[in-house]
């Protein structure tokens, strides 16, 4: 049996030590990263119910700031056929058949408490978070479009064409269904951060969209709902929507 020379043995031990030190450092680094990750990914809580209040009196016909804000935030292309392109928010102008009173308002996913899209989705890809945000799991959506048939608000879009240059915060792809996410990537990052539509609306001096926690009586949305009131689109369906409209 051959003996290893002392100098060579020492070198070997030093290399092993360096390797173990490196391994330990890598482990510590990955642990701290995981802890940061856990902190950033605090699970949604049912203590909160995120919602929007649209003040239609402040919303002007012809303004599409909220739509532009949404499109920019999620990388949605607003060119092409209106019936096949994605529209997470659309602007609608209304005229009361009796009084002639005109209203303008944005319509997006209403984030229903009893969401028909969640009920009908065969794979459970359409789901509602504990904080009331209705989302589509892009990994399990099979593109059956049953949720689009079921949505009373026509708030969902099926992606008809190949997409490129999607944003990491908004995973989107051909053959799946998508809709307003209430900018979860923003509100998950920082609790007081507003969805892009509300930010853009404020930037353009309308401030017609208020975002907040419907469960918190002290939140600005709850305060406004308390004083201004707020109705639901198709309230007769009793879906308890997270998006409310004042002046409708």
């Amino acid at each position: 049996m051959s003996r290893v020379p002392v100098a060579d043995n020492e070198k070997s031990l030093q290399a092993r030590r360096r390797f173990l030190q490196g391994l330990g450092l890598a482990g510590m680094a990955s642990m701290s990263y995981s802890l940061l990750e856990v902190k950033a990914k605090t699970p949604a809580s049912s203590d909160k119910r995120w919602g929007l209040l649209i003040e239609t009196e402040k919303c002007s016909s012809g303004c599409d700031a909220c739509v532009r804000g949404c499109n920019e935030e999620h990388g949605i292309d607003d060119a092409g056929d209106d019936l096949t392109r994605a529209q997470w928010i659309r602007k609608i102008d209304l005229k009361d058949e009796l009084t002639g009173n005109e209203t303008s308002l944005p319509v997006m996913c209403q984030h229903c408490e009893s969401a028909p899209c969640v009920d009908v989705c065969p794979t459970g890809a359409s789901f509602k978070r504990a904080d009331g945000v209705v989302l589509v799991n892009k990994h399990t959506c099979i593109g059956c479009r049953y949720c689009m048939m079921a949505c009373p608000y026509k708030a969902r879009s099926f992606i008809h064409e190949t997409l490129t240059e999607q944003k990491p915060s908004a995973p989107r792809g051909k053959g799946t269904v998508e809709s307003c996410t209430l900018c979860v990537h923003r509100i998950d990052e920082e609790q007081d951060r507003q969805p892009a539509c509300a930010v853009k609306c404020t930037e353009e001096a309308h401030s017609a969209i208020t975002f907040g926690d419907l469960n918190d009586p002290d939140s600005s949305i709850s305060q406004k709902l308390n004083t201004l009131g707020g109705s639901q689109i198709r309230a007769d369906l009793q879906l308890n929507t997270g998006v409310r409209y004042q002046g409708l």
């Binding site: 005229k95 009908v120 608000y153 008809h160 051909k174 053959g175």
Partner: protein
């Protein structure tokens, strides 16, 4: 007690037209596959569907095939459960046809998905609040029940189980068709669909479509075999078709009249009569009504109907019921969803006012026709390898056998 002497054989293409038929069907299947691939590769923008009309012609084909699969089991059910001996020779063919139609319908449905490559997810991840999920079990279970049913019909040692498995198949097909109708019946946001009567209406549709397809297949197989369909069989099949048509017309009339009466639905219902779906709607109902009147007149006055007349009535019944299904599925999507009752939509980027329009593309026709061709191709294959084709030697009619 009637005595039907029948012999079951595999199909022998004595006239060569079997091979021509199979080649034609194979060609259509290839075209259908190409259409599905193109639509999946390019995206659904090449189809006539959009974000307003989200379910188009492929769904009409798929649902038609699934409904016809359930209805094609009529002869097997009548023979095994209700002991109608006239239908006994046709039970095996009835079960095989049901399997072929269902497989094809499911394939069309899958190939029209936005992500057909995620079929594994659809088969393994379920949301049990969704009727769609339940239907996946109902459809696959139906195929399993039919396979066992066929085994009991083919193997003499298993014959004693025919009545039990036949009853299970009957129950299963009722639940399956109810489930299929309920896919549309639970849609609260669409006033033309939001009704439980769609479930029995779809059962009636399945009876008509299944009976018509089965009759056409019986005639086709008899032609391949070179043996005419017995006159008594034609008469019995015609009577069965008449009852199925009456049931369909009854449920359809109740569906539309009740919608017309309820003020919430009446304006949408009126658009069904006069709007963009008026043509298929009226064409379907008038055709079915015409076939009913004609069949009644043949049964009551002459007590006889020849093979050509019988097949013509089946083609007309199939066409009429397909028109009703088309106007139900597509028509309900053309009507604008009323989000704001009492208000007029003056502007919208997503067609919130006015009717939607839908023109099926060649890709959708190709996929749908490919599905129909696949069912016939599968049937042709099974007829060559299994003794399911009946050669009725001496049919003897009996009063107790008559469906009426």
């Amino acid at each position: 007690m009637a005595s039907i002497i029948a012999d079951h054989q595999i199909v022998k293409p004595i006239r060569g037209n079997y091979l021509v038929w199979m080649l034609a069907m194979a060609l259509l299947v290839v075209i259908g596959g190409y259409c599905a691939y193109t639509m999946e590769h390019e995206g659904h923008h090449i189809s006539g569907m959009n974000n307003r009309v989200v379910w188009g012609l492929p769904h009409v084909f798929a649902i038609s095939l699934i409904l016809a699969a359930s209805g094609a089991l009529n002869s097997a059910t009548l023979s095994s459960v209700f002991n109608q001996s006239m239908h006994k020779p046709w039970a095996r063919l009835s079960v095989v046809l049901a399997i072929c139609l269902l497989i094809s319908g499911l394939l069309v449905l899958v190939l029209d998905l936005g992500r057909p490559d995620r079929l594994f997810i659809a088969m393994t991840t379920y949301n049990f609040r969704s009727i769609f999920s339940w239907n996946i079990f109902l459809y696959t279970g139906f195929i399993a029940v039919c396979v066992v049913y066929l085994a009991t019909l083919l193997d003499r040692s298993l014959n004693r189980y025919i009545a039990s498995i036949g009853a299970l198949a009957l129950l299963w097909r009722i639940v399956l068709t109810t489930g299929t109708g309920s896919i549309f019946g639970f849609l609260v946001g669409r006033s033309a669909l939001d009704t439980a009567i769609l479930a029995p209406l779809f059962i009636a549709l399945s009876l008509v479509m299944g009976s018509a397809v089965f009759a056409l297949v019986v005639a086709l197989v008899s032609r391949w075999q070179g043996t005419p369909v017995p006159a008594n069989t034609i008469r019995q099949f015609s009577k069965l078709m008449l009852w199925c048509l009456l049931a369909l017309l009854y449920f359809s009339v109740v569906h539309h009249l009740t919608n017309l009466y309820v003020s919430e639905h009446s304006s949408d219902e009126r658009t069904m009569f006069t709007g963009p779906m008026a043509l298929p709607f009226w064409l379907g109902h008038i055709t079915l009504f015409g076939v009913c009147v004609w069949l009644v007149s043949r049964q009551r006055i002459i007590e006889a109907i020849n093979q050509k007349q019988w097949l013509l009535s089946c083609v007309a019944a199939l066409f009429g019921s397909a028109m009703i299904l088309y106007s139900t599925i597509i028509g309900s999507q053309l009507i604008p969803q009323n989000l704001f009752p009492g208000k007029e939509v003056t502007s919208s980027t997503f067609g919130d006012a006015g009717f939607a329009s839908y023109f099926p593309s060649v890709w959708e026709w190709g996929l749908g026709m490919g599905g129909v061709a696949l069912s016939m191709l599968l049937l042709g294959f099974f007829l060559r390898v299994l003794p399911v084709s009946a050669h009725v030697i001496e049919p003897v009619a009996d009063i107790s056998d008559q469906v009426t």
